[in-house]
């Protein structure tokens, strides 16, 4: 029996700016089990990072506010707990790795001290004990000479090393949930491969649930068990990775998969881009945020957001196009033509 770690229902986070209300996250729901990896994929402005920040209750208020929904972590609603309780939960139960390893470590403290501080704060260990644990953690995430490295400042670390340091800090209190927000976007591919390896090792060792936020569909295919595709603050499609990659139902998912050049395709195929420009978050339609760019738009699309429709085991989609019609359209798309046969 798998253990449910996180159950997010109808989460909405809005930003109240001078120019108007930005509905950065708009009614998003998902779950995360122990040992499971959820990939949240989307382009800039899709709301994936704000979703992560909402989980941690790190939304700057003002201008932002979580305006609705529940985030239940092992039976407790994180949106109902006090600030003090939340800061106990943060780091201890839910930890986060940020995109930019250059700015997420404090430049004026030694790396070892920064990790030890987390251990002292959450586990009440002594200074000496926590320092020793920090060194062990650095060794675990594959930093050579951890004794020496713990005594150094972030600027003495390379980008990949800093991200390893961040992972060490994140796992220091053995959290149930690890949220990784574009953890390798700032890194080169060979370093990315190393970091993904470390994250997976740590997940196996600690039985963590991982939320991997990324714009890279390759990273999701590599790391995730299930995936949620976001656009303009909404979830448009979600489900097990195989379902979403091989049986996608949402025109936006088709667009994403079709616009990617791929290493494993040997005949040159012209890419099928998604036409138009990314949406203006201040002027999102009430309906499907992809309307306006969607080539198969129906009159109803812009006015009303389509309800969740289950199209396979755990595979949900929001789209007004009737299922039969969707299959027909998809079979005609270059990327899915040959896949339909297999």
């Amino acid at each position: 029996m798998t253990e449910r770690l996180l159950e997010v229902t109808d989460l909405s986070t809005h930003f109240f700016t001078h120019a108007g209300v930005v509905k950065a996250v708009n009614g998003v729901s998902f779950t995360l089990d122990r040992d499971e990896t959820l990939g949240i994929v989307g382009e800039s402005g899709s709301g994936k990072t704000v979703t992560a920040m909402s989980l941690m209750r790190l939304i700057p208020d003002p201008p932002g506010r979580i305006v609705g929904g529940t985030i239940v972590h092992k039976g407790r609603d994180l949106l109902a707990v006090s600030k003090e309780e939340m800061s106990d939960i943060r780091g201890n139960d839910i930890a986060m790795i940020f995109q930019d390893p250059m700015t997420s470590l404090n430049p004026v403290f030694k790396v070892g001290d920064q990790i030890a501080e987390v251990i002292r704060r959450h586990q009440g260990k002594s200074k000496r004990e926590s320092w020793k644990m920090a060194i062990e953690l650095l060794a675990k995430v594959g930093i050579p000479d951890p004794d020496k490295r713990a005594d150094q400042y972030p600027f003495e670390f390379s980008g990949g090393m800093r991200q390893r340091g961040m992972i060490a800090m994140a796992i220091s209190c053995n959290p149930d949930v690890l949220v990784a927000d574009e953890p390798t976007t700032a890194l080169d591919v060979t370093i990315q491969a190393q970091i993904m390896d470390v994250i997976r090792e740590m997940q196996q060792a600690y039985h963590t649930g991982v939320i991997m936020i990324t714009h890279d569909l390759g990273v999701v295919a590599q790391m995730a068990d299930k995936v949620m595709v976001m656009y303009g603050g909404r979830t448009l499609e979600d489900g097990p990775v195989d379902e979403v990659y091989y049986n996608p139902h949402q025109p936006y998912t088709w667009g994403l998969l079709g616009s990617l050049p791929r290493l494993d395709e040997n005949e040159k195929q012209r890419l099928t881009p998604i036409e138009g420009q990314p949406p203006n978050l201040l002027l999102l339609p009430d309906g499907c945020p992809f309307s306006g760019r969607c080539p198969y738009e129906l009159p109803v699309c812009a006015g009303e957001f389509p309800p969740l429709e289950m199209v396979g085991p755990g595979h949900g989609v929001h789209c007004w196009i009737p299922v039969a019609e969707r299959f027909k359209i998809r079979a005609g798309l270059p990327r899915f033509r040959d896949k339909a046969a297999s």
Partner: protein, 338 residues
């Protein structure tokens, strides 16, 4: 004959320190790079950050002075050219930059930005230039209405189109594309790639396509050169390079790229390189890749940098700089290690 020939190009940056700003070292950003590009082809230049790919692009245009080496464009010696010759050369050689936010002057209208090369080269009357700007905007998928607007009114993808329009203004023959799509979201990136491909066909352009994204480079390039720490370690036509890589760095690089296909990903055996890229200010002795190389032998790898040698059958144009390149059997089957 190739349009662009580069022989043993070097660009070293001095490291200055102390009050007297004495030179205390060198950053070997580009250290002996040779390649050629034929008319109408696209040469992809890939590598990780700090490998010298962007510096190479800039030195070719003489936006930075070279430390050593020869560059000839259509038979003309670029490195020895006078100021006026260089200016004429730049009509034929243009560049598209990576950052669509930084490469356009925020205080000038799009019309001014695109017409600037025409003004500098004193081409046409004001009215003719205006007409050319409209024409260029249409070419890159924008409209004449956009001409009077300012860069901040555009999204990243649209700005990159403006950058391309500016590069096209003088009807160049070669465009150096320095990471032109890496700042863009995937859906917009595909628009840009298709645009570059269409323009190449229509205007018979030659591209030097500099990027770190191997999938994009494979898609757009005829041939690909892989750089590591200021040196080219392997060059081949794009299919050969991706199907039969011979340099261990190329293999690791390809293996590190996640493929957006869950089944393929589960079946893949990933080669993970240890450690980080060494500093170009203090490159390792011998082969620059030897500290991270799984095939390293103290002799000869730590002794001397291997030269780029043609491998495989003649006419294959596959060159690799490695003492122990991966060999493929006659059937083209990959060895067990890949």
């Amino acid at each position: 004959m190739s349009l662009l020939e580069v022989r043993d190009l070097k660009k070293h940056f001095p490291i200055k320190s102390g009050v007297l700003k004495r030179t205390t070292g060198q950053v070997y950003a580009v250290d002996g790079v040779s390649f050629s590009i034929d008319e109408g082809e696209t040469l992809g230049l890939v590598g990780e950050s700090g490998c010298g790919k962007s510096t190479t692009g800039r030195v070719l245009l003489r936006l930075l002075p070279a430390t050593a080496g020869q560059v000839s464009f259509d038979g003309l010696d670029v490195m020895a050219a006078s100021r006026s010759t260089i200016q004429r050369l730049r009509r034929d050689m243009q560049i598209v930059f990576q950052d669509p936010y930084a490469c356009l002057n925020p205080r000038r209208t799009v019309k001014n930005i695109i017409a600037e090369p025409l003004r500098i080269h004193d081409i046409g009357t004001e009215a003719e230039r205006k007409r050319r700007v409209f024409e260029l905007l249409e070419t890159v998928g924008l409209t004449a209405e956009h001409a009077e607007r300012y860069p901040h009114e555009f999204s990243g993808g649209q700005r990159q189109r403006i950058g391309v329009a500016r590069a096209l203004a003088l009807n160049p023959r070669l465009i150096i594309c320095d990471e032109p799509v890496s700042a863009l979201d995937v859906s917009i990136q595909a628009q840009m790639i298709n645009l570059l491909e269409d323009l190449q066909k229509e205007l018979k352009l030659t591209y030097l396509f500099i990027a770190h994204d191997l999938s994009v480079v494979k898609h757009i390039s005829t041939r690909v050169a892989v750089m590591y720490l200021g040196k080219i370690v392997e060059v081949a036509d794009s299919t050969t390079l991706y199907v039969k890589p011979q340099h261990p760095y190329t293999e690791a690089l390809l293996s590190a790229v996640p493929i957006p296909d869950p089944r393929t990903e589960r079946e893949r055996h990933r080669l993970i390189l240890e450690g980080d890229v060494p500093s170009p200010a203090n490159p390792p002795s011998g082969c620059v890749f030897h500290p991270r190389c799984p095939r390293m032998q103290p002799d000869p790898c730590t002794k001397a940098m291997p030269t780029l040698n043609v491998v495989g059958t003649a006419g294959d144009d596959h060159e690799v700089a490695c003492y122990f390149p991966t060999l493929y059997d006659a059937a083209g089957a990959a060895p067990a290690s890949v």
